[in-house]
């Protein structure tokens, strides 16, 4: 039996319900498609595998960031045969141009929060990262550093304890310092502390007293020397006079050197003239002959007195 009539059924009920259903389905379909698009199902992607010895903190769907922008997503984390973790990422092709063969990948984990996978490309002119590339990822885990830091701190504290402990070197140094200060406050004071015992200190004091006496006697000597050297007629004055004389001599020497210079200059000028003259030996001979002719009479007189004898007169040189 049908039940109708509680409320009037509109004529276009079917249409409206159909519309509603259609709207719902369309919206649902659109939503699903958008979700798929957002997940990059419609994008061409390339695969990148990062190999690390520890994939702690990495979760599926985590982003691979480049310069702060996410360009890839972790799609799979697995354990390889050699015990290392393989993190497989998918990078849309339009973003894959930021990754090069020389790109470096890091996995950082701070104290709070999950891990971060970052990519760095030093040279964007290098060839692009190929499809399916496998790269090692550099790990930086602050949480691992903390135990190490704690261990270092602990060992440092232990060292300090040892130093300041009862048998430690600090105590020993303090004991030494105490002994030294006691000696300083002793009879000979700082001297005793430096030398360590009293006898040496006494010797040093005696030596100082002798030195003082010597200085006193020397001061008289110094006074006399002062007089001898610096006083009137003293060494200094004599030296001063000698210096003055030397200066005078130097001055004369300078003048004579100037004269020598002049002589040399003259000689040069004369030599210039003489060069032509020296070669004129023919003229010289002619002159000598001429003068000899004038002397002929005298030679004749000599001839008269002294006849020519070859051997005695002409001596071979």
């Amino acid at each position: 039996m049908e039940r109708d009539g509680f409320s009037p059924i509109p004529k276009n009920l079917q249409f409206r319900v159909g519309l509603l259903l259609g709207l719902a389905i369309m919206v649902a379909g659109g939503f699903i498609l958008y979700a798929l698009y957002a997940r990059g199902t419609f994008e061409a992607t390339q695969r990148l595998t990062l190999v690390s010895d520890n994939a702690e903190g990495v979760s599926l769907g985590m982003d691979l960031t480049f310069s702060g922008f996410p360009i890839g997503r972790v799609v799979r984390i697995s354990l390889a045969d050699d015990g290392r973790a393989r993190i497989e990422l998918e990078v849309p092709r339009k973003d894959a141009r930021w990754l090069r063969v020389t790109s470096i990948f890091t996995l950082e984990r701070g104290i709070v929060g999950g891990a971060r996978i970052r990519a760095f490309s030093g040279n964007l002119q290098d060839p692009p990262l190929p499809e399916g590339a496998e790269r090692p990822v550099l790990r930086g885990d602050t949480q691992e550093e903390i135990p190490r830091m704690v261990a270092t701190l602990r060992s440092t504290l232990e060292n300090i304890e040892q130093l300041t402990g009862p048998g430690g070197s600090l105590q020993a140094s303090l004991a030494n310092l105490r002994a030294a200060t006691e000696r300083v406050s002793g009879r000979h004071g700082a001297l005793g502390a430096v030398l360590g015992n009293d006898e040496d200190a006494k010797k040093v004091v005696a030596a100082i007293e002798r030195a003082n006496a010597l200085l006193a006697s020397m001061s008289g000597v110094v006074a006399k020397t002062d007089q001898r050297v610096l006083g009137p007629g003293g060494v200094v004055e004599g030296t001063q006079r000698a210096v003055d004389q030397a200066n005078a001599i130097l001055g004369e020497l300078r003048e004579s050197l100037k004269r020598v210079d002049k002589i040399l200059a003259d000689a040069q000028s004369v030599a210039g003239n003489a060069k032509a003259a020296t070669q004129d030996l023919g003229a010289l001979r002619a002159e000598v002959d001429a003068s000899l002719r004038k002397v002929n009479g005298l030679i004749d007189e000599v001839n008269r007195k002294w006849p020519f004898q070859r051997d005695s007169e002409i001596r071979l040189p």
Binding site: I263, A267, A277, T278, L284, S291, K305, R310, I314, P317
Partner: protein, 193 residues
Amino acid sequence: MALPARFRDSLALILLAAGCGGTQPLEWQANAASAMQSFQRHYLSGETATAEAEFKSARTELARTGRADLVARAELVRCAVRTASLEFDDCPGFEALRYGARAEELAYADYLAGKGSHRGGDDPLSRLVAQAVSLRSGAITPGGISAAVDIASDQGWRRPLLAWLGVQEKRAADAGDSETAARIRRRIDLISG
């Protein structure tokens, strides 16, 4: 017999030492002394032009002072050098300054003329001058001629050497010893290039 040397040295000493001993040597003194020495050197070596130039400059320097005795002494030195080279004349330069010459200079002038006597030094020029004076006065010996030749040859003084060799050559030629004369002439040729 080395008055020329003494003259020369004393001239130099007068020129230089007069200035020394507390005061600066005077410029004319130094210049004249060096010029005279240069003159002697060049003249005896046969570089006549240079020697004449040097003598002229020495004479000028000495004439600056206006002291005729100094210039006369310079002329006497020249005369002596010429005498040593057997160029006998009556020293016209000195004669012009006879009025200002002192006794020493006058005596030396007479000596050069062959009339006086003079005790010179032992330096070559003095000895050469002495030989020349003795030739002028007619008292030379053949040994003296040879000695003069040797002195001139040792010193490399062309002019007097040529002159004295010429004397020997004439003597040989006059004695008829043509061979020796030829030898001497060859020597003369050697000297005069």
